[in-house]
């Protein structure tokens, strides 16, 4: 891995050069929060953000995505990738993207996702401020931070830029990069280590311990109790970097001939998610809110571990903050289950 350095005064020039090549999607402020959005000016870039409302995968997998259009005669694919840079992604979100990549390629290569994903160069950045519910320092430790092309770590006077891929290497010419000194590289490692250690929230057990306990708690009454205030509103799913379910709907034109097939991010906490049509009507295989609430934790902490090599939770804390009923926090729920 090549370790470079760019000073504060040259960072904006680098970002502007990236913007000159194509869209740069980066964290920008939105009232009291932050969102990944196309940069209009480099001044909007907020590398000291805590976390964003939605995870960065929005850059290549919008919450609503057109798949196919139909004009009555011919169906046309909507795949139409644009080369872009996704800039300032925190390490936990890089893990989340790597998980999505896996979900969308494992048994079937989803071109509607992958075409955009391949056209995206990812520049990560170190966590400068922690989101109040972040616990990425104590979850999913067995999964490496991979899949990005460059990583910027905030150090004195500038950023250490780790170059990880050819796509990352290709960016070096766009900025005033020099080699990082050993001291700078060492400082970067310390900064990233400290970010892990300073998370405001913390899981107390290993992934394997949690996985086993989760599975054995399946029939516990605790799920009923934990989900009593649940709205089935799916906010915990929608903000999650590792949730990947979607719903497909056809939208017809007024002419009754043309149509667009779209997919939208879906949520397993909503009641309709688990509705299936059966002969003569409709059945729901997770009818109770406690079953749906439990399902999310089973998915995150137990079911997907084998496929991913670790839990399907990267500790961003978004779900904890997004839940208006304040019951979705994985740290609270998992620690409670572990105490049982």
């Amino acid at each position: 891995m090549k370790r470079c350095y760019i000073s504060d005064e040259h960072l904006n020039g680098f970002v502007e050069a990236l913007m000159g090549r194509g869209p740069v999607i980066a964290p920008v402020a939105k009232q009291s929060r932050f969102v990944f959005e196309k940069l209009e000016t480099v001044d909007d870039l907020m590398l000291d953000y805590d976390t964003t409302i939605l995870p960065p995968k929005v850059a290549f997998f919008p919450t609503k995505q057109e798949l196919v259009t139909f004009d009555g005669k011919e169906a046309k694919s909507c795949i139409n990738p644009t080369d872009q840079v996704l800039f300032g992604v925190h390490p936990y979100d890089i893990k989340g993207i790597a998980m999505s990549d896996k979900f969308y390629t494992d048994s079937h290569v989803d071109e509607n996702y992958m075409a955009n994903r391949r056209a995206t160069t990812i520049v990560g950045s170190s966590v400068q401020k922690h989101y109040k519910h972040a616990f990425f320092g104590s979850v999913c430790m067995e999964v490496e931070v991979i899949g990005h092309d460059m990583f910027l770590t905030r150090v004195a006077g500038g950023y250490v830029a780790d170059v990880l891929t050819d796509k990352g290497e290709a960016l070096l010419g766009l900025g005033q990069f020099g080699d990082a000194t050993d001291a700078q590289a060492g400082e970067a490692d310390q900064v990233n280590q400290a970010a892990m250690e300073n998370c405001p929230e913390k899981l107390e057990n290993t992934s394997a311990q949690i996985r086993d306990k989760m599975r054995s708690s399946f029939r516990s009454d605790v799920w009923e109790e934990l989900s009593e205030d649940c709205f089935s509103c799916g906010s915990c799913n929608t903000v999650c970097p590792t949730c990947y379910c979607f719903d497909v709907q056809d939208e017809w034109g007024l002419d009754g001939v043309s149509a667009t097939r779209c997919r939208t991010w879906d949520s397993c906490l909503t009641a309709e998610f688990s509705e299936v049509s059966v002969q003569g009507g409709c059945e729901n295989f997770r009818e109770q809110r406690a079953e749906r609430f439990r399902h999310r934790f089973m998915r995150k902490a137990a079911y997907l571990n084998e496929q991913l090599g670790g839990p399907a939770c990267v500790g961003c804390g978004r779900c904890s903050g997004a839940c208006t009923a304040d019951i979705a926090n994985p740290v609270v729920v998992i620690n409670k289950i572990m105490e049982q």
Partner: protein, 249 residues
Amino acid sequence: MAKVKCAWFDFASCEGCQIELTNYGEPFVELLQHIEIVEFREVMTEKTEAPIDVAFIEGSFTRESDRAKLERIRDRAAVVVAYGSCATCGGINALKNHTDDYKQEVYGADADKPHLDSTKALPISAAIKVDYEVKGCPMDKDEFLGIVQQLVHGTAKVYVPSYPVCVECKRRGTVCRFDEGDYCLGPIAQAGCGAPCPADGIPCEACRGMVQDANQKSMEKVLMENGKLPERWAKQKTRMFTANFREDA
């Protein structure tokens, strides 16, 4: 293909949904290529007694004397579509349902005039069978056009979500009202509108009604604890558009 004969009727409402329809512009004009308007007080004076293909009904059912009128419409129409919150859940009119002094409050000296007599504001479905409902105050454009499109062309059933507004709000990446120190009814409100209100920086007031199995107890708690509403207000909040969904309705 023969045009589909459509008629519009209004009951207790502000007629805002009719106005909304005429505001659609381009899609409304396109719609006119497929339908024939045989009765629509807002835009024409003709009236008919002939059978109609689709009856669009606005407003709530709030006078027993309207039952016969509604039944006549039902008899004439192959399909009945209730549109707007007034017609689909009683809407803002149901705000009076738990009171008995509203006539005094609203009409003062005129309160005793007989034409102001009314009972509880209820959805049209409380009086007659309704085949389709288009929710919203005012009704949602895409939902309306989707359903009409389906009726005209016989295409696949229009999907309307059954989950709360939060789902659509989060998908838009809107900052949650609760994060801004405000309150919001999104967690129990029926989605389908695309959550425009929080995106504009105002709370969702659940104008489309509540979702099935809305967790009303939890909502009251959240309104008090996170939304910082006083208890009395938190308990009354859902009377504005969703009085008929309340446990005490």
